[in-house]
């Protein structure tokens, strides 16, 4: 009681004293680029100690002298200083500063450090940059082009995502090498579950019963990007060492939004928009005449092609643009969200519900996601706090069939082989005309076949801190954290019995109709306990942390496929003539023990050392601990006393960091077990041709990263420059044996070493910072080169990295593993090396421009230079006669044709360049997939309160309107649909194999945001 009284007295005296000295009062509101008020902003009159902070609604009031300059600053935002003049109201918009030097970055499992003291280039993407511009469907899509050092590739344009993310080149050669994703401490599942869409009964991309070419989405798609406050990207082992054996491919740390203490804010948002195909291959534009009919290399003889052509009406036959009929939908996109947040200084909450529903550019495709998240932070006492985050997601997608194909089902293939004059439209009686070329009518695929999946998922996090000691120069806390991610993913691939490819006219499989129901269940659990001690002595700050981590997961992947369906709508495999099933179980447990010491001398020199010991049930020896050390140093030159030119160079940091991470063998790779076969109604067993490595040890990556961070002119310009050298030692891969031994490979074998070297540059500038016109721009440049530095096994072609003579990736000592290889072969069998699927460099530019007080214009341009795909797009279209330049005679491979005694060698392009034609080698199919994409663009308008104030009483505090676009413009010379494509899905090596995958789309939105 006495204390309170004293405080009030003080306040009174100060206020009175201050008021007496003033001659003017300044009021206003501070908000962010989304017009969300920012509470707690410090507003200070320059040259004085007078100041105020904004309240829960972002309002402030301050007495100022004449001709005052007032500064506005808040953590995570760019500071502003404004000359007040004679204004009495000053509303200020603070722009988020993603290069903010005072921001903290994670350096340990329970510790963080100010960004200005960090020894690693940890990229941090805030909500504004992630989803503030437009609405990418998925988190990985939202990161594309924004993080230097990352190569993100969309596997296809099908709704529901499917992205491969590579941090700093190739970290692992095995399939499971996507980065580790951690949301509020929960290690989440980002599997790409097989759906069976690519198996024999459907498009038969593979003859195997389990799908490797299902074109499935990865489960990061479940996460609502709009729940995210911040993403930190730990790109390499030097930053991620503390995550041990799960972190070889880097770590992506996601923090979701939290409530802010103050008034309850209710925010409603509605996005509505459309998507349309970015680009068509132009199949209908290909002219047809007798020259083509008589000279093409079709699937029927030229005489029969002529018969079909004549029957259709010949040169006068109507030409249909089937490509637009299939992919030409203008898809409706809807996204509704309602969130409530707020709290007191003891309890804060954030609850967000969102309903996203997006149709696809192809009929009967789409993506839906319903997400509910509740984050509660409670400070129970000065001694203990607890934070709980709960997220339920229900997501579903319908993706139809695209990519590789051997049944005539995938629409890209079907379209490429379909002449525009061949009638394929369904007739009045509902009959689909047969396709005499590939055996399957495309509209029947669109209308009748389905490839769908639904996921129900819970993500739960709990963090609690006990502060045992909390004095000015000594703090000790126990930090406990736990997380659960449970998901159930159910997919269905369905082909009704009337599909033509089951019949003689098509592929003919021996049964008619098939349905495969797949159920994937995965449970991930993680828990950690850390003691963190903070001690300040004589200008030194010691942060000591010790702790332990346990991770476990188990999954069941099973399917039942019914073959031979009865006519009718029932899709239960029980009604089928026969069934095949499979069940695959996995489980793994990792335990880590961590110790770390951070010493900070007056923010001038910061050194860190630490080590993690990990053991895993995935290793050959489940009880052996492996050590992953780290060490780093950062020197803030500008913080030394001798640094006098702080106005010009406000910060200058030299940094170097070293660290190691690892990756255990994939589940199952240590086992050598019998295979199951059956014949004549009997089951049998066979010794396997694939052997496990019972002694598998983790592969490791060690990285040294060094760089300079500098900021100039009071942080108006910041530069971050990084060089890294990341070595992957004893990388695990299949040891391909001489097939003559009857055993094809040993799994999880340490086959060699890789090296990635790269440069990352990031330059941010506040080019303009007037009250009426502000422009912030970030320019990122990054490049990576990968080399196989040691190979202890014979060189080999990476399985599923392409199609033989169309280009494959090979592991050859001294060369890049992502280079495309192919014919011609030298006499000793050495293939010719062509270009690389990794770009020579990537460049992106993010710009945020505020003008006329209430308008914000942003855009992100992304350039990927000289990344090459192994593509069959042009080949398939040439074989089908549908390439626009088919009838041109560009004298392609003419000399070779002369040599092969094919007359004078003249030939139409569509004949001269197809596989098997004289002189055509792999060069033809390794094509430049460079692109410039306008990834994001938007214009927002904050409706001034005067315009609506009376309309809703005082209930509405802000209204924001906007329009935005996602991938609205693509410049690329690439033949086919989109230069971003990967038939084999997420894999470190073998991305960029394109077989006319689902076209990418341009998405345009209109936004309405109302805050109450």
């Amino acid at each position: 009681m006495n204390k309170k009284l004293l405080l009030m007295l003080c306040l009174f005296i100060c206020t009175v004293g201050a008021v007496l000295a003033q001659n003017q009062t300044l009021r206003g509101k501070v908000s962010d680029a989304n017009s969300t008020p920012i509470p707690g902003v410090s507003v200070i009159v320059r040259g004085t100690t007078q100041g105020a902070t904004t309240d829960a609604e972002g309002n402030y009031q301050l007495a100022i002298p004449a001709n005052a300059r007032v500064g506005f600053s808040y953590i995570g935002f760019l500071s502003q200083e404004i000359a007040v003049g004679n204004q009495s109201t000053l509303n200020v918009t603070l722009l988020e500063d993603n290069r903010q030097l005072e921001e903290v970055v994670v350096t340990g499992l329970a510790t963080s450090v100010k960004r200005s003291n960090a020894a690693n280039a940890v990229t941090s993407i805030g909500a504004q940059q992630l989803t503030g511009v437009t609405r990418p469907q998925t988190v990985d899509g939202a990161l594309n082009g924004k993080v230097p050092g990352v190569q993100i590739t969309a596997n296809s344009g099908a709704p529901g995502g499917g992205f491969s993310v590579k941090l700093r080149g190739i970290s692992s050669v095995t399939q499971a090498s996507e980065p580790l994703y951690i949301i509020d401490g929960v290690y989440i599942d980002n599997s790409q579950f097989a759906t069976g869409a690519g198996t024999g009964s459907f498009n038969r991309a593979t003859s195997q019963t389990a799908g490797t070419q299902d074109q499935a989405s990865n489960r990061l798609a479940d996460i609502n990007p709009e729940d995210i406050e911040n993403i930190e990207v730990l790109k390499g082992p030097s930053a991620a060492a503390i995550y041990g054996t799960r972190a070889n491919a880097g770590v992506i740390l996601i923090t979701t939004k939290k409530g802010k203490s103050g008034r309850t804010t209710v925010s409603f948002g509605q996005d509505i928009g459309f998507a349309e195909a970015n680009k068509f291959a132009g199949l209908a534009k290909s002219p047809w005449n007798l020259d083509k009919i008589n000279n093409g290399v079709f699937l029927v003889s030229n005489a029969d092609m002529l018969k079909l052509y004549t029957a259709a009406g010949g040169d006068n036959a109507p030409r249909y643009d089937y490509e637009r009929e299939v992919y030409g939908n203008r898809a409706l996109l809807r996204n509704t969200k309602l969130n409530v947040s707020g709290g007191t200084d003891r309890l804060r909450y954030y609850v967000n519900g969102s309903v996203l529903s997006e149709d696809g550019i192809q009929k009967n495709t789409g993506f839906k996601r319903n997400s509910l998240r509740a984050n509660i932070d409670a400070k129970l006492s000065d001694f203990v706090d607890i934070a709980v985050g709960s997220n339920y997601i229900n997501s579903s997608s319908s993706r139809s069939f695209s990519g590789n194909d051997n049944n005539g089902v995938s629409l890209g293939y079907n379209l490429a082989y379909l002449p525009p004059w061949l009638e394929q439209h369904v007739d009045a009686n509902g009959n689909y005309p047969e396709n005499p070329l590939t055996g399957q009518n495309l509209f029947q695929v669109v209308d009748k076949m389905r490839n769908t999946e639904t996921t129900n998922r819970f993500i739960q996090s709990v963090t609690t801190n006990f502060r045992f000691i909390n004095t000015t120069n000594h703090q000790l806390k126990l930090s406990l954290q736990g997380g659960i991610d449970y998901l159930l993913n159910e997919s269905q691939a369905y082909a009704p019995p009337e599909m033509q490819y089951f019949s003689g006219g098509g592929a003919g499989l021996g049964y008619r109709g098939a349905v495969r129901n797949t159920t994937n269940r995965a449970l991930n659990f993680n828990a950690q306990a850390f003691l963190v001690d903070n001690l300040q002595v004589n200008g030194f700050n010691f942060t000591t942390s010790v702790g332990t981590v346990r991770l476990s997961n188990n999954s069941t992947q099973s399917y039942i496929e019914g073959r031979g369906l009865k006519p009718g709508p029932v899709k239960n495999p029980n009604t089928a003539d026969s069934r095949v099933t499979d069940t695959y179980l996995t489980s793994a447990q990792d335990v880590g023990v961590v110790g770390q010491e951070e010493i900070n001398w007056r923010d001038r020199v910061i050194v860190t050392g630490g080590v993690r010991f990990d053991k895993s049930s995935l290793n050959g020896d489940n009880s052996k601990f492996y050590a992953f050390p780290k060490a780093s140093a950062a020197v803030n030159v500008a913080n030394f006393d001798f640094w006098t030119n702080k106005n010009t160079v406000s910060a200058l940091k030299l940094r170097v960091a070293y660290g190691q991470t690892g990756r255990s063998a994939s589940f199952g790779n240590t086992f050598t077990s019998l295979g199951n076969v059956a014949i004549d109604g009997r089951s049998g067993v066979v010794v396997p041709s694939i052997l496990g490595n019972a002694n598998a040890e983790p592969e490791t990556a060690s990285e040294i990263e060094t760089g300079i961070d500098a900021s100039f002119f009071n942080n108006r310009v910041t530069l971050e420059a990084t060089y890294y050298d990341k070595k992957v030692l004893n990388f695990l891969y299949q040891y391909q044996l001489a097939p003559s031994t009857g055993a094809s490979q040993i799994n999880a074998y340490p086959v060699g070493d890789l090296q990635n070297k790269g440069i990352e540059l990031s330059l941010t500038g506040q080019i303009l910072k007037g009250a009426n016109l502000g422009w912030t721009s970030t320019l990122n440049y990054w490049q990576n080169r990968t080399t196989v530095t040691r190979l202890s096994v014979p060189r080999f072609a990476v399985p599923s990295s392409g199609f033989g003579g169309f280009g494959t990736n090979q592991i050859i000592q001294g060369l890049s593993p992502t280079t495309w290889y192919g014919s011609p072969y030298a006499a000793d069998g050495t293939p010719t090396a062509y270009d690389n699927s990794q770009p020579k460099f990537q460049l992106s530019s993010y710009n945020n421009i505020t003008f006329l007080n209430n308008f914000t214009f942003s855009f992100l341009v992304h350039w990927s230079y000289k990344n090459y795909n192994s593509t069959l797009g042009q080949e398939l279209m040439d074989e089908g006669g549908t390439t626009p330049d088919w009838l041109n005679k560009d004298n392609l491979y003419q000399a070779d044709r002369v040599k092969a005694s094919l007359g004078d060698g003249s030939a139409f392009n569509g004949v001269a360049r197809i596989y098997g034609s004289p002189g055509v080698e792999t060069r033809q199919f390794v094509q430049d997939a460079s692109f410039v994409k306008l990834r994001e663009i938007s214009l927002y308008y904050n409706v001034p309160k005067v315009a609506f104030g009376k309309l809703f009483g005082n209930a509405v505090s802000a209204i924001k309107l906007g329009a935005s676009g996602n991938n609205v413009f693509v410049a690329s010379k690439y033949v086919g649909y989109d230069p971003e494509a990967s038939n084999f899905g997420n894999r470190p090596i073998g991305t960029g194999v394109d077989l006319l995958s689902f076209p990418a789309s341009r998405r345009v939105f209109f936004h309405l945001n109302v805050t109450f």
Binding site: S301, N406, S587, F796
Partner: protein
């Protein structure tokens, strides 16, 4: 402050206790939850386990046959697997890409599956023999019978592989089964002749073991083996395959002897012989060589020359081929006919048939100047095909030509024409043999094999 320190101690203690008791630090030694252990079956297997292993051998022995027929059929200018979405089956196999791949098909390409398959069968059969050797539940005779069966299957797979690889030969063996930990090191390659000797030696070993194999196997057979389920009958199959090997070796006398010890019957069913079974059941394989009429997905179509060269009235044409309603084109090669050898996806495929034995008998006899015997055997086949008796010249050369012709139609789509043309130096007479085409004399050695050889010179 003091209170907090006490609390700190308590919380830490509770946590430490909790962690250790809830097995926080435990990582399991996981055993494969999805598949059975190899050791349990290969080390002293029970009778039941021997049966499961033998079913495995019968199933795995099928692997490779379909690929052999597809590849040898194309190179022998008999059939084309006319895949609408993959032209490599009629570009690479017909030799139009030979320049880029050092005179062969892509060594990293799609035509290597047979190589792994036959090698796996070879290995599995050898492991089966070793496993049964350790089975205390089996009598000495039963072990011998099992070994005889295993060697027969092993030699069959080796011979198929050798014929595909031709001059490249096959591995003379591998060492790992006897010396664990040597990581599956293969032994040197044989040449073609050496490979044949190896096949023959393996067959002879099997034959001897079958002789000592008593009256019954310690396991039962699939229905396709009906009539060949005793060691004695298995020996007839063993000798039938031996006759093939002697034929390729051009050891005509031995061939004549072997075919005589086989299940040859000049009066019996031409289709008699052991067969592979197929189905769409779980873990089973369908007969992939069956096709519905007029398929457009990936039909097996004929080189028209096969049909147009046939004698009028040859019923094998009508029985085995079908005219398509539309002409299929495979890279510009037109086909008006397609294969219809099998009736469905569960139709069995012959391993070796009496009809082949009769023709082998004819060839052996012609080569050893028993021209009358040769003619008689030829006429059995001709009669079976609805043709009149042989009326050509009664010379060795004419009869050999006639045997080859009958083999073409009797064994159509069974993977023989290419090898027959090669052993009589007739590859140059096959259609589509000039630029841009090329008729290969052997399948390319797979890249993985070549790279192993370069990295581990023997």
């Amino acid at each position: 402050m003091k209170k907090h320190t006490v609390l700190a101690g308590l919380v830490t203690l509770a946590l430490a206790g909790g962690l250790s008791s809830c097995a926080f630090f435990k990582t399991e030694d996981i055993i494969d939850p999805n598949n059975l252990s190899v050791d349990a079956f290969t080390n002293n297997p029970s009778r039941g386990q021997v049966q499961l292993l033998s079913n495995g051998i019968l199933a795995t022995a099928r692997a490779g046959y379909g690929d052999l027929v597809a590849s040898a059929g194309a190179i022998g200018r008999e059939t084309i697997y006319s895949a609408s979405t993959d032209n490599r089956y009629f570009t690479e196999l017909l030799g139009t890409k030979a320049d880029g791949f050092g005179g062969a098909t892509d060594p990293n390409g799609i035509f290597n599956a047979y190589y792994s398959n036959f090698s796996q069968t070879r290995r599995r059969a050898e492991q089966f023999a070793k496993a049964t050797e350790t089975a205390s539940a089996l009598s000495a005779a039963e072990k011998s019978a099992a070994k005889g069966f295993a060697r027969t299957i092993q030699a069959y797979a080796m011979l198929q592989l050798l014929n595909m690889q031709g001059k490249n030969g096959i591995r003379s063996g591998y060492t790992d089964l006897n010396s664990p930990g040597d990581q599956l090191k293969p032994l040197k390659f044989t040449d073609y002749a050496g490979g044949l000797d190896l096949v023959i030696a393996t067959l002879n070993e099997g034959s001897t073991a079958l002789d000592a194999g008593g009256t019954a196997f310690p396991f039962t057979f699939t229905s396709g083996w009906a009539g060949f389920t005793t060691p004695a009958a298995m020996k007839q199959v063993n000798r039938a395959i031996a006759a093939r090997a002697f034929m390729y070796k051009q050891d005509w006398a031995s061939m004549n002897t072997a075919v005589g010890q086989s299940f040859l019957s000049l009066t019996g069913d031409l289709n008699a012989g052991p067969k592979f079974n197929f189905s769409n059941d779980q873990n089973d394989t369908p007969n992939g060589l069956f096709q519905l009429p007029d398929g457009n997905g990936a039909p097996y179509v004929l080189f028209d020359e096969v049909v147009t060269s046939a004698e009028a009235g040859d019923t094998r044409i009508a029985n085995k081929t079908r005219k398509r309603t539309a002409t299929r084109s495979s890279g510009g090669i037109p086909s008006n006919y397609e294969i219809k050898l099998y009736s469905g996806v569960t139709a069995p495929i012959a391993i070796i048939r009496n009809e082949e034995l009769i023709l082998m008998s004819a060839e052996a006899k012609a080569q050893t100047n028993d021209l009358a015997g040769a003619t008689a055997a030829i006429n059995v086949v001709r009669t079976g095909a609805g043709l009149k008796a042989y009326s050509g010249a009664s010379t060795k050369d004419a009869l050999i030509a006639e045997v080859l012709k009958q083999r073409r139609y009797s064994l159509l789509f069974e993977g023989h024409r290419w090898f027959d043309a090669r052993r009589y130096n007739l590859l140059g007479t096959l259609p589509f043999n000039t630029s841009p085409y090329k008729v290969f004399d052997a399948m390319v050695r797979p890249n993985a094999e070549t790279q192993w050889e370069l990295a581990n010179p023997l």
